[in-house]
């Protein structure tokens, strides 16, 4: 989907502010959200594509204001709710009980939910299927000229907007079995395929405002590319 998460090339965000002696997590909740996500992933509850797409569905102001781990929290809550594992109503009730400093918060009913997941519902988090590498036959080779397809899917994609329609040269062929995020994010299959790193001269991408002697190198799924003749 076209949205604020696809930031490459936007103006207006000012200087990059570097924090001295930055801690790994800036608040306790950040570490909790990170580690909870990792535990849920390990248990096969959702994949990184579902995680990322859910974040893309945040309202634009929230995306920009809630913080990096605030986005993760948003994704976690929404996915758990949608999958019937923990409902929004349960979270809201617990929140109000915390707010009221309740003595004994309401215990959630273990039976009233879709848990544990069935084996066929489990999804790995990552995107590399090593056991399927042998099936992969790349369409393109190093040095091939390719044009990025002009795709505007409503759903998830990793095809960044700023290079759509642009012509580049394949510089690396990653001939392993990589999951296509566009389909897995929506539970429509893994569509294993190579990933290419493609070189774009900066002026192909940014026109006359490009800086001199810059190459933008973008990793792209095979389905995002077509041969340039």
């Amino acid at each position: 989907m076209n949205g604020i998460h696809d930031m490459g090339g936007l103006h207006g965000f000012g200087a990059v502010e570097v924090e001295a002696d930055e801690p790994v997590f800036h608040a306790r909740w950040e570490g909790r959200v990170y580690a909870m996500t990792q535990q849920l992933d390990t248990r096969g509850v959702y994949s990184l594509d579902e995680h990322r797409h859910e974040i893309e569905l945040m309202g634009t102001p929230s995306y920009l204001l809630d913080g990096y781990y605030g986005r993760w929290l948003f994704a976690m809550e929404r996915i758990l709710d949608r999958k019937g594992i923990l409902t929004r109503a349960e979270v809201d009730l617990r929140l109000s009980e915390i707010g009221a400093d309740a003595l004994a918060p309401t215990r959630p009913d273990r039976e009233a939910r879709h848990w544990p997941l069935a084996p066929e519902e489990l999804t790995p988090w990552g995107a590399w299927r090593r056991d399927r590498d042998a099936d992969i036959v790349p369409k393109f080779a190093v040095g091939d000229r390719v044009r990025v397809r002009n795709l505007h899917p409503e759903g998830h994609t990793r095809l960044t907007a700023y290079i759509r329609g642009k012509v580049g040269t394949v510089s690396i062929v990653n001939a392993q079995a990589w999951v296509l995020p566009d389909t897995r994010a929506h539970n429509r299959g893994e569509n294993l395929q190579p990933v290419y790193n493609v070189d774009f001269p900066a002026d192909e991408v940014w026109g006359p405002q490009a800086e001199p002697n810059v190459t933008v190198k973008v990793d792209l799924m095979e389905d995002y590319l077509e041969r340039e003749v």
């Binding site: 930031m7 490459g8 997590f25 909870m36 102001p61 781990y69 948003f74 933008v216 990793d219």
Partner: protein, 218 residues
């Protein structure tokens, strides 16, 4: 903006319904979710503690620095590293079955590499730990692909126009690590000493390593 379902404060811009609490709303929501998932046995809070501690204490740029120092001191390792980052790191006991595919890209006097992820904030956790806030910022993500020269200069790394800049937008599941140039004045350092001078920022590509004063070592 149909999807800010769980906190309305951005819609009116003014309140989030929990202003009576001193903690950030994210902290309160996190507590609610964690406590419920723990009640249900879906999350183990002790394991959450462990993971947090692991990322706070055990993972970080020191791992990447080990890779870099080894590459500087062992040409054959360097060749293997540039050919297959993942396998070479495994020689040092870095990584594991879940480790992301890794390309190590070498900075030279002619070519400068820098890493970004415009779509989220992909980063080589295994070798650098979790990314700093600036790497995840809108400013870095939006600008590095469009004006790397200007941004690097702002961040303290001016580069001449004859140095080619390669910006790696790592939007797939392949990860990148920059192999910085070994600075002058380090000929006499041991691999262990070299590890100490390799900065995180040099392995992202937003800094070079300064020339070292070897006076005290020689």
């Amino acid at each position: 903006m149909a999807h800010d379902h769980h906190h309305d404060h951005h819609h009116d811009g003014h309140s989030h319904g929990h202003e009576e609490l001193e903690r950030p709303w994210q902290a309160v929501r996190t507590e609610a979710v964690e406590s419920l998932l723990a009640d249900l046995g879906i999350i183990d809070p002790a394991r959450v503690d462990e993971i947090v501690r692991y990322y706070e204490e055990k993972v970080g740029p020191k791992t990447g620095a080990r890779v870099v120092a080894k590459a500087w001191t062992d040409p054959e390792f360097k060749a293997r590293l540039l050919a297959n980052g993942l396998e070479a790191c495994a020689e040092l006991g870095i990584g594991g079955p879940e480790t992301e595919y890794l390309h190590v890209v070498e900075n030279t006097p002619e070519v400068h590499n820098v890493i970004v992820c415009t779509l989220c904030s992909c980063y080589p956790w295994t070798v650098l730990g979790l990314p700093p806030a600036w790497y995840k910022s809108s400013a870095y993500r939006s600008r590095m692909v469009r004006e790397p020269r200007r941004l690097l200069a702002e961040m303290g790394l001016p580069l001449q126009d004859d140095v080619r800049i390669q910006v790696w937008d790592s939007v797939s599941e392949i990860r990148y690590l920059v192999l910085p140039e070994r600075p002058a004045g380090t000929d006499g350092l041991t691999e262990e000493q070299l590890i100490e001078i390799v900065s995180r920022d040099s392995m992202i590509g937003v800094a070079k390593l300064p020339v070292q004063d070897q006076g005290s070592q020689s």
